[in-house]
């Protein structure tokens, strides 16, 4: 049986839990506690986890964070369970998804507790922006409820093994997962901050509740009634269109990071990375660290998208970066066996005859991120479509307040940028709330931060596009008040 678990890694030490076993389509699979069902299956070589609703197309691991529908399986009789985020348990019975399922007519259901929770501030999302906001609020003794859908705090930080750029004051120079650890430790010392993991903020209701479904052994339906909110839901990976872009082995870069950096499972042996933004360059480097051969990084545009220093790291380890090229198809029976890449012309269309093939089992898509706007949009915040920001983003003030008074935003949700600015935005949002709550002492620091962010940090020519995006979504207080009057019906 193949074994894709990583036992030796240059920067991460994987601590595996107790050995457990479960059944998959009737066969016994050995796993470790702490893994998701999918990670356990992936580790022993499974690649197909479900089929399209009509049963015709195999589907593999894709997002790995419970967002897409590619791993829906039947777990103890319950169909449509996302096994990429379902913890593995001893004796659980898992059956792969095969098209439209039968309803779960023979299952026993556990009771869900209902809890109404009033708080000063609800923070949704525990990535850099949410964590920093919660930290700054908690340090002032404000009641904070912090929720994240992930099984631990840290958001994308926990799968980042590289050292972060930026300002030493905002954790620059530390590896992402170390930053998460440091922040979580700091938060744990704050008595007024309550945190919930595997907690999905599913919608805001006119009764004033934010519904939060907390999964796990003791499920709770948390109805949070906050005075203020910080929404920091981050971003989702984009995907692109090419033939067989759903073949198992085609995966989001973040999905592969989750597998190899959180669960310690090698996502494949031979990879092609699509996209040379910082995410693509970083993931390619991390693949090398995990022992995966990276055949090439392919970039549609004429220039590399990310920073040259990241590209240089790859080049000196022998990884070619093909600019002006795109993937046109993946091939293989039930899983990727080959990827076909072609040069593009001036209009970015593939050029006939320029195809080259790569024998790979992994095609990693790192073609950009889009803000997770759904919650905020459901709440009724005024949104704007800004391509430079990655998609639909909330209109807000420099204080990070949206068109819904009292609802603040921070991080990638407000436009794709990076961790340092997410920390800073989270902190600004926290100070703005503190100011409203009567903590006048934070105003000076808030203004200093806003000045640093806009007039220094973002002035770098290397981040001008992101700055443009953020600028287009940021409006003055007066304009915001007019917008609020207009949007009120």
């Amino acid at each position: 049986m193949p074994d894709y678990r990583i036992y030796e890694h240059p920067v991460i030490d994987f601590k595996r839990g107790r050995r457990v076993s479960f059944t998959y389509n009737g066969s016994i699979v050995e796993a470790y506690e702490g893994e998701s069902i999918l990670a356990s299956l992936y580790a022993v070589g499974y690649r197909v986890f479900s089929r399209s609703p009509d049963g015709s197309r195999p589907r593999g691991a894709f997002c790995m964070i419970g967002r897409c529908s590619s791993c829906l399986s039947k777990v103890n009789g319950v169909p449509n369970t996302r096994i990429c985020i379902e913890p593995v348990r001893d004796g659980v019975s898992v059956v792969s998804g095969e098209g439209l399922p039968e309803p779960p007519v023979n299952t026993v259901s556990s009771h869900v507790k209902k809890e109404v929770l009033e708080t000063d501030v609800l923070v949704v999302g525990a990535g850099p922006a949410g964590l920093q906001a919660a930290l700054k609020l908690g340090e002032k003794g404000v009641d904070v409820v912090l929720v994240t859908d992930h099984f631990r705090l840290g958001g994308q930080l926990v799968k980042q093994t590289h050292k972060f750029f930026g300002d030493t004051r905002y954790y620059g120079g530390m590896r992402g997962f170390k930053i998460a650890g440091k922040l979580v430790e700091a938060l744990s010392k704050l008595p007024t901050v309550k945190t919930y993991t595997r907690a999905y903020a599913y919608g805001f209701f006119s009764e004033g509740y934010m519904g939060v479904a907390v999964q796990g052994e003791n499920p709770v339906n948390l109805l949070v009634k906050p005075r203020y909110m910080v929404i920091a839901t981050g971003a989702t990976e984009k995907t692109i269109l090419f033939e067989n872009n759903d073949l198992p082995g085609v995966m989001g870069a973040g999905g592969a990071q989750t597998l190899m950096n959180e669960y310690g499972v090698k996502p494949g042996d031979d990879a092609l990375v699509v996209g040379s933004g910082n995410v693509g360059l970083i993931i390619a480097y991390q693949l090398l660290q995990a022992g995966v051969r990276v055949h090439s990084v392919v970039e549609l545009m004429k220039e590399i998208g990310g920073w040259v220093v990241h590209a240089s790291k790859l080049r000196r380890h022998g990884v070619p970066i093909l600019t002006g090229h795109t993937i046109v198809r993946a091939e293989g029976r039930e899983r990727v066996e080959k990827a076909v890449v072609a040069a593009v012309d001036e209009k970015l269309n593939p050029v006939q005859g320029s195809e080259r093939e790569y024998s790979v089992d992994l095609v990693l898509l790192a073609v950009g991120l889009q803000p997770n706007y759904a919650l905020l949009s459901q709440m009724g915040a005024v949104m704007k479509y800004i391509p430079e920001a990655g998609g639909l983003v909330p209109v807000r003030t420099v204080d990070m307040e949206t068109s819904i008074p009292g609802v603040f935003v921070a991080g990638d949700l407000t436009g794709i940028e990076e961790a340092t600015t997410a920390f800073i935005e989270g902190e600004i949002a926290a100070y703005a709330i503190l100011e409203k709550m009567g903590h006048g002492d934070v105003v000076e620091e808030k203004n200093r931060l806003i000045d640093f962010l806009w007039n220094e940090y973002r002035m770098s020519p290397a981040v001008s596009r992101a700055r443009q995006g953020k600028l287009k979504a940021t409006i003055g207080e007066e304009e915001m008040n007019a917008l609020r009057r207009g949007s009120r019906r």
């Binding site: 449509n80 039968e102 309803p103 779960p104 023979n106 259901s109 805001f204 209701f205």
Partner: protein, 376 residues
């Protein structure tokens, strides 16, 4: 811009009327829709179709609609199936009342019948029938795919030269020397005739004509789950709570339940609905506990005082014809209403005499329609 007929409202009623007119060779049609096609009550509806009502008007119009649904389904290429309706009764007084309803149905040749809990269990094996005293089954009732019915109708109309302008809101209708002028946010349209099929908005649009229509919005809440293989065949109504469940043709389970609402209140999401819907239907289908809710939305029923639609030309101006106030039944009635509206527009009388009773002036004249009860 000039047109023969201007239809205000791109819902199922307006679209089907245009389709019906095409059959008569009438093509000079323009449709304006304030948002997008189907965006009002149409896309929010439960898609159920039945003739088992409690007034002669509803029953006969719906019988005609049920004759027309399969023809339209064939023509436009959408799914329609007669999977039945089932009223579940849990109180003695309801059983007595429904005995009378069934008698009324039979008098109009609607083949409903009472059944016991065992038979219900046979019809829907995964249902917990504890507490069910009796049920009424309507085998002729059914459901259709609202999305394909609407989208395909719009596509056919566009192909046939009908102009459809979305994002175009009619704001005022006036008459100038025998011609009708409709003002919109994107300019004026001149028309020979105007059909206003715009739900609650119809009220304001015909005000300038001197017509007063008693239509008010009532918010209704529904949720939809993930899709499964067929498991619940009929649309089931829990009579005592006036809530319902059905498995739509795509496989998703759709639940509607009433929570307290004021007329003309904003349509907003209320957590209370989710608890109400779950509480009622998990009792009947315990396995629903483990089923995911995908979406919850709120739509309006455009209610009239007698819960019957207002269909017909305005007394004040015969060239302005209205079709609104469907009180939750607009989708199912659309084929028959469209047929009648086409007759009005072409200057004829509808074939079904019941339409005479649905004209706008009935409220002024105090001739409201009486019925035994309103369902769901």
């Amino acid at each position: 811009m000039k047109t023969g007929l201007l239809i205000v409202g791109g819902g199922v009623t307006g679209l089907f009327t245009a389709v019906s007119l095409l059959d008569h060779g009438y093509r000079d049609i323009t449709i304006v829709e304030k948002s997008y096609i189907g965006s009002g009550g149409t896309f929010r509806c439960a898609t159920g179709i039945r003739a088992s009502f409690t007034s002669r008007e509803h029953v006969n119009i719906m019988k005609r609609a049920i004759d027309l649904w399969p023809i339209l389904a064939e023509k436009l290429g959408f799914k329609y199936r007669r999977d039945g309706y089932l009223w579940v009764l849990t109180r003695e007084k309801d059983v007595e009342f429904f005995k009378r309803v069934v008698e009324f149905h039979h008098s109009l040749n609607v083949p409903t019948r009472m059944m016991g809990p065992e038979e219900v269990k046979e019809l829907i094996p995964s249902m917990n029938t504890e507490g069910v005293l009796s049920a009424v089954h309507d085998p002729l009732a059914g459901k259709a795919s609202v999305f394909n019915a609407t989208v395909n109708a719009a596509a056919l109309l566009k192909r046939s030269g009908v102009k459809i302008y979305e994002g175009t809101q009619a704001t005022r209708i006036t008459s100038e020397g025998g011609r009708l002028i409709v003002e919109t946010n994107r300019g004026r349209i001149e028309a020979d005739k105007v059909l206003v099929a715009a739900a609650r908005d119809t009220v304001d649009l015909v005000k300038d004509m001197g017509a007063e229509l008693p239509i008010r919005n009532l918010a209704k809440h529904v949720l939809i789950t993930e899709a499964f293989k067929p498991v619940i065949k009929p649309l089931i109504i829990d009579w005592s709570t006036s809530s319902y469940i059905l498995q739509v043709l795509h496989g998703n389970i759709y639940i509607g339940a009433d929570i307290p609402e004021e007329y003309d209140a904003p349509a907003v999401n209320k957590y209370a609905f989710l608890e109400k819907a779950a509480g009622i239907w998990v009792r009947y289908f315990p396995w629903l506990s483990e089923v995911y809710v995908l979406r919850y939305w709120v739509g309006y029923y455009d209610m009239t005082p007698d819960h019957h639609p207002i269909v017909g030309p305005l007394e004040e101006n015969e060239n302005v014809i209205v079709a609104a106030g469907f009180s939750g039944h607009g989708f199912m009635m659309a084929p028959a209403v469209a047929e009648a509206l086409a007759s009005y527009i072409l200057g004829d009388k509808p074939a079904l005499p019941e339409f005479e009773n649905l004209k706008p002036e009935r409220f002024r004249k105090g001739r409201l329609i009486k019925e035994i009860a309103v369902f769901g």
